[in-house]
């Protein structure tokens, strides 16, 4: 059997890679894809703990995470299409219209 901490370490590695993509890349599309990577690493943790402690709630939470991710991606890409229609740029540091 694979020990539990292998899965946790895999989740940590994928989380750090995804966080690097969110923090360091400047392309909005790649930032959104890195967010997907973050949520997937969390899903690995949920399912690994659910499997090793024999609990269905891990899988159920993973299902909810996947559903909310689908909603988030749909809204984010809608906002992105509306943004590109108004201002043709894909760089995160060019989009400061709201002075955030």
């Amino acid at each position: 059997m694979v020990p539990l901490w292998w899965y946790i370490v895999l989740g940590v590695v994928l989380f750090v890679i995804g966080a690097a993509g969110v923090l360091l890349r400047r392309n909005i599309l790649v930032v959104l894809m890195s967010l997907e990577l973050l949520l997937n690493s969390v899903n690995i943790n949920f399912i690994a703990f659910g499997h090793y402690y024999d609990d269905f709630r891990g899988q159920i939470f993973a299902i909810f995470v996947i559903a909310i991710t689908a909603a988030e991606v749909a809204v984010a890409l809608g906002i992105l299409v509306a943004l590109v229609r108004n201002k043709p740029t894909l760089k995160v540091d060019d989009v400061t219209m709201m002075k955030g």
Partner: protein, 166 residues
């Protein structure tokens, strides 16, 4: 046997995840992300969660990545290809990432909570039946909330992406 498969899938998923972050072209990033999701669904199969593996392939590879590729085709990505990373402000983010990674790894490796090698109890058959019974009985309200959130996201995405009526 399990360990060899886990190492294979984990190595492939880490390599494709690095490709997602490091590739210059967003199309390459999207395809590498698709490969990464396939590896992660194989890891779900190793964790004896076949339903989640199938949902992962359907939702992520089938729906989300196709959505990404459609948007990439709608948008001109050529001007964004040239510059890869944020020009300034790299150092604090890098330090933050390294500290975060080392902290999580230290917590995982030093704690004895994660040194479980065998599942506490081996499950019997009828796993998906039990899972769906739990999902539709105990978690009915969150399930309905998720469906309403999906509907709201559908309507919101259409409203955001359509052209302004003249």
């Amino acid at each position: 046997m399990d360990q060899a498969f886990f190492l294979l899938f984990a190595a492939a998923s880490v390599i494709t995840a690095l490709t997602v972050v490091l590739a210059r072209n967003p199309v390459h990033s999207a395809l590498a992300l698709m490969a990464c999701f396939l590896q992660i669904s194989a890891i779900f199969v190793l964790l004896e969660a076949p339903l989640l593996a199938v949902i992962q392939i359907f939702v992520y590879v089938g729906a989300i990545m196709v959505l990404f590729l459609f948007v990439i085709m709608m948008i001109d990505v050529r001007e964004a290809v040239l510059q890869r990373f944020l020009p300034g402000g790299n150092l604090p983010a890098l330090v933050l990432l390294v500290v975060l990674g080392f902290e999580m790894l230290a917590l995982v490796l030093w704690s004895d909570r994660f040194s479980v090698t065998e599942p506490v109890a081996m499950r019997t058959g009828g796993e998906i039946r039990q899972l769906s019974t739990t999902l539709f009985a105990d978690y009915l309200l969150p399930f309905e909330t998720a469906s309403v959130i999906l509907l709201a996201a559908l309507v919101g995405a259409i409203m955001l992406a359509r052209k302004e009526p003249r």
